[in-house]
């Protein structure tokens, strides 16, 4: 929209370049009053907000007050310093994917997926694996070149690994939706460690996915790639094909914007 590229470092944008406007809300264990208002201001200032406006101050429980604050943030972020590489935007088409599998690999890609631990949220992994797919994009099951096994929910790591070995799978797909106290990270990491211990980590392409997952996190946990909200089956298919054909796979796409 602006003709010039974004100034670096970037500040928040309210309605004028450089105004740094941000909104915050929080609860403090105080009763509304002069002192609470001042406390909210100072609390906001400690986050780097200049001239904070306490837009609302309401008793939200006995002894607790809810605040909405606006202020000019002094902080900025230097985008040029961000090492996360930008997404390759063009995904492969279904035809390209099928073509590459049949020509370069000459066999089906076997994938095993599950939602692990006590997590029972299958919708995400189903979206990727099952025929029905997601947002109009059919799942891996629908490809001729894939053989997809969906183990469903609440699968323990050892079961998943055992099944993958039994099927001589190419890839293991793990979904984690519950994230309270980072249990998704723990679960994911435990699987990787188990695979390493069993000496099979490199037998599989291992993918991690879920609403709080991104590529960076997945790498940190020891997976090959991570997929976040809005992932389409074709993104995953494309990634697997290129990876298994020994090409440089495209990066997992960024989480998609959710607007309509």
């Amino acid at each position: 929209m602006h003709p010039t590229p974004p100034a670096k470092p970037l500040r928040a944008y309210g309605d004028r370049e450089g105004d740094g406007m941000v909104q915050m809300s929080f609860v403090l264990q105080l009763t509304p009053g002069v002192r609470a208002r001042e406390a909210a201001k100072r609390f906001s200032e400690s986050h780097g907000l200049r001239e904070p406006i306490v837009a609302t101050m309401e008793l939200c429980a006995e002894g607790y007050t809810y605040f909405v604050v606006y202020g000019h943030s002094k902080h900025s972020v230097d985008v040029s310093q961000i090492d996360v590489p930008e997404v390759r935007t063009e995904a492969l088409t279904r035809e390209e994917i099928e073509h590459r599998i049949s020509t370069r690999l000459g066999r089906k890609i076997i994938v095993v997926g599950a939602c692990t631990g006590s997590d029972a949220h299958t919708v995400g992994i189903d979206a990727i694996l099952n025929y029905k797919g997601y947002a109009g994009d059919k799942g891996l099951e629908s490809y001729k070149g894939f053989e997809a096994y969906n183990l469903g929910a609440q699968v323990e790591n050892d079961q998943l690994l055992a099944r993958a070995r039994a099927l001589d799978a190419d890839a293991i797909l793990v979904s984690q939706v519950i994230t309270q106290r980072n249990c998704h990270k723990e679960n994911g990491q435990a699987l990787i460690e188990m695979a390493k211990k069993e000496g099979v980590r490199d037998d599989f392409v291992m993918l991690f996915g879920g609403p709080r997952v991104d590529h960076k996190l997945a790498l940190e946990l020891g997976f090959d790639a991570g997929f976040g909200p809005g992932t389409k089956p074709a993104d995953v298919a494309g990634y697997l094909v290129e990876k298994l054909c020994g090409l440089e796979p495209p990066l997992p796409p960024a989480s998609k914007p959710t607007a309509k």
Partner: protein, 518 residues
């Protein structure tokens, strides 16, 4: 489209209201027809093509008109003096106006040029003025025929950074996010200025100055957005305050689509003198009528100072009067965006039903009018999360009763002029409500003996009673008694009264003449 749910509306009462409003307006029209104002005369000069400012920033039209007013000569109309300057050899109206402004002496009108001769001399220039308006109008119509507007209710948002270039950025962003209409809110102080600032401006408190150059800049931005998003984006500004007529002219030629323009807003909310306002609004509307611009009246504002439950009928009363005034200025119903608002205390039981009743009643009484529907403002607090919900209920009434122009509520209403994000979120929310409840108005019927029906009946009845009252006392008195917005004003009080001039018998104003023939 199926038939929408209706509330009971006694057609005879409505007809009676219109008849009374007509008499109320006729009374004032007699006064208007006998007067002019410095604002009107400046507008006429602008329409003749006069432009420019002196080194102090004072517009040429102001210097010229003020000079003739001070000299007690404005009663004949600035056009007469302009004609004389032309007759005296000035090559065009611009040069002629410069002579009026800076010429060695004030022309006292000795000898020569009869009013009719003056009119004849000005005729081609007056025709040119009409042509400029008509050209702009045709350009608008051509563009709108090619790039269609979205469905109603049209989503109207404001931009108000103070800097016209930032406003242009915001306007395009708004269009991108789904806005149909973009208004540039005016700087807080402008309406009391008795001149129109000049050129592009980048500073302004609470809004951006309305200047002709700014109109051009923002129009360019919204035109681009129209083309790019394949949806016609309407552009709006304010024809109100002491320069309402001049701004109407500027908007006409810069091809604005809408103008905030009300017969009484300035009186009530800016303490502008009523005589001045009545005269100015008439002339501004004559331009607006010809330009095919849609006006937005300001009855919604009443409910920010008066109680929205008790004084709901005053909105309707005023709408009848605004309509009557507008008809007298040549406006078509399709140009009358009568204003009303969702300003009932949200915590009142059945407040949503009362809002429905009012919105539906207005929709029925003014079926051809592009009704302007204003969001909650008064009862907004800084709780932006609650405000989102409050605004959603407002939008739901908007789509259910098919309002024409919906100003979108902003969750930051109680805090600041909307930020980019605030506008985006409001548009997103409105799109959702309009989509999800698209046919709600067709799906329901209001129970004939229910609360909504009763409320609508009551409001119409009270408006009728008030109209009877206003007519009895005249509007001049009624405003003195606080009939609208709980605000009281006197006939000779307020700003700008000194700028009102009784027309002489030989008053000359060929441009107004042409407009009145439209």
């Amino acid at each position: 489209m199926g038939t929408m749910a209706t509330v009971p509306m006694d057609v005879r009462t409505v007809a009676a209201c219109r008849a009374i409003a007509a008499e109320i307006a006729d009374d004032v029209q007699r006064y208007i027809d006998a007067h002019t104002s410095v604002g009107v005369e400046r507008t006429i000069l602008r329409a003749f093509g006069v432009d420019g400012v002196d080194d102090q920033g004072a517009p040429l039209v102001n210097v010229a008109v003020d000079r003739y007013q001070k000299a007690g000569l404005l009663d004949r109309g600035i056009s007469y003096w302009l004609a004389r300057a032309l007759a005296a050899g000035m090559k065009d109206p611009q040069e002629a106006a410069e002579r009026l402004a800076y010429g060695h002496e004030v022309d006292r009108g000795e000898g020569g040029l009869s009013p009719d001769q003056a009119r004849a001399l000005l005729a081609p220039h007056a025709a040119l003025a009409m042509q400029r308006i008509d050209t702009a109008r045709e350009a608008r119509e051509a563009l709108r025929a090619r790039v269609k507007a979205g469905p109603t209710p049209h989503k109207y948002v404001i931009v108000a950074t103070g800097n016209i270039y930032d406003d242009a950025v915001q306007a395009r962003a708004a269009a991108h996010a789904g806005a149909d209409i973009v208004a540039v809110i005016r700087a807080t102080a402008q309406s009391l200025l008795d001149y129109v600032p000049h050129g592009a401006t980048t500073e302004g408190y609470g809004g951006t100055f309305a200047t002709q150059e700014n109109f051009k800049i923002i129009r360019r931005a919204t035109d681009q957005a129209s083309e790019e998003y394949g949806r016609y984006i309407q552009q709006t500004n304010y024809s109100s305050g002491l320069c309402m007529a001049e701004i109407a002219w500027m908007a006409a030629v810069e091809r604005l689509d809408m103008l905030l323009n009300d017969a009484m807003y300035g009186i009530l909310f800016r303490d502008i003198n009523m005589c001045r306002t009545f005269v100015d609004q008439y002339v501004s509307r004559r331009f607006i009528a010809r330009a095919g611009i849609v006006i937005n009246t300001g009855e919604d504002n009443y409910l920010t100072t008066a109680d929205a439950v008790e004084k709901a009928h005053t909105v309707l009363t005023s709408q009848f009067i605004n309509e009557a005034f507008a008809l007298r200025a040549g406006l078509k119903e399709q140009q009358m965006g009568l204003g009303h608002a969702y300003e009932i205390d949200p915590w009142l039981e059945d407040s949503f039903l009362m809002e429905m009743a009012q919105a539906q009643l207005i929709r029925q009484i003014f079926p051809k009018h592009p009704i302007k529907w204003m969001p909650p403002t008064k009862h907004k607090t800084g709780d932006i999360f609650f405000a989102q919900v409050h605004d959603a209920m407002f939008s739901l009434v908007g789509i259910t009763t098919n309002q024409s122009i919906e100003l979108l509520g902003m969750f930051s209403e109680a805090i600041q002029n909307p930020l980019l994000m605030d506008r985006y979120l409001s548009l997103k929310k409105t799109r959702y409500v309009y989509t999800a409840a698209k046919h709600l108005g067709e799906e329901i019927q209001w129970k004939p003996d229910g609360r909504v029906a009763a409320r609508a009946t009551q409001v119409l009845r009270e408006a009728h009673e008030q109209l009877v009252d206003v007519q009895r006392t005249t509007i001049w008195e009624a405003i003195g008694n606080g009939a609208f917005a709980d605000v009281k004003r006197t006939r000779t009080g307020g700003k700008g009264y000194a700028g009102v001039v009784a027309r002489a018998k030989d008053y000359v104003n060929p441009i107004l003449g042409l407009l009145e023939k439209t």
